[in-house]
Symmetry: C2
Subunit: 146 residues, 2 copies
DNA sequence: GGTGGTATTTAGTTTGGGTAATGAGTTACG
DNA sequence: CGTAACTCATTACCCAAACTAAATACCACC
């Protein structure tokens, strides 16, 4: 690969990207759909929705969080009835985490509310800008998981 | 404005955007260029670099942080010699915050290091994907500040 | 069967933000 | 004028969500 990001424009883009991501993240933290669920808890539910089920360790790696943090998060989600823990079939060290029906319903509701919030925010963007952002969303997601 | 984000594709984009922003934010937190500077401190320096100087209150609004938090951040930056505090010419309640030459030098260095990190990450993207992201950066920034 | 490595958890700490209450300074209005 | 209401910054205290280090339980291989 050539020097993708070593020209001036791209250096500016990197700075811009970094500060925008941090700022938006801070603001999203306050825009919880369910007051009792932290952003990372939400993210874990989303991951489970995509992947079906996973072990705590796998979730920690996917969310780029340390294993002890994931233990706590999973415990909280279980206490709220959003997640089910079963023993791993092959390895008794591990556990299998999967989402409950309740979680699925909550995710659907939360999506609606998130859309409302971002929609209000997006009213400040014109059609082209939103289109740009929409195209970038999957790329950003890929980047975040690399 | 029409229903910009109420079709299916855009709903997916919103979800994608939200989780990507949160995840990337978490990862960026660990990729500090200067171990002793928090992400928000970096962000404040960036704002000052763009705006010249501002009062603590203005900075708090721009970073979407509460005033007491900004007081603490500014104090830390001053202790590190990255920021200068002067009395406000017209209003003795306020203060005027501006960055020092030292801060400017540090920002330049930090940009280099950030580029290196994001460059490694961006090796997993192809040219088109990076181009998409580069186009989206200013839009994302605008969105974050709305 | 012992030994080294892995998954999870427990315990304790750090960090980065928040809220409430205070003090100093300014503005508006009687 | 002068006082009441408001604003800016700060101080004091608190909380949430991550982290590291160490303990526990388990697997795998020699």
């Amino acid at each position: 690969m050539p020097d993708l990001i070593h020209d001036g424009d791209s250096a500016a883009a990197v700075s811009s990207l970094r500060s925008a991501v941090m700022l938006l993240g801070r603001r999203l933290k306050h825009q919880r759909v369910d007051e009792s669920l932290s952003p990372t808890e939400m993210s874990v539910l989303g991951t489970l929705a995509r992947c079906g089920s996973a072990t705590p360790g796998e979730l920690a790696r996917k969310e780029h969080v340390q294993p002890p943090s994931m233990t706590r998060i999973v415990a909280l989600l279980e206490a709220k009835g959003l997640v089910r823990l079963e023993p791993h079939p092959d390895d008794r060290r591990q556990k299998r985490v999967s989402q409950t029906e309740q979680a699925e319903a909550m995710l659907a509701e939360s999506r609606t509310k998130r859309n409302a919030w971002l929609s209000r925010l997006a009213e400040g963007l014109d059609e082209d800008e939103w289109e740009t952002l929409r195209a970038a969303a999957p790329v950003l997601e890929k980047l975040a998981h690399l």
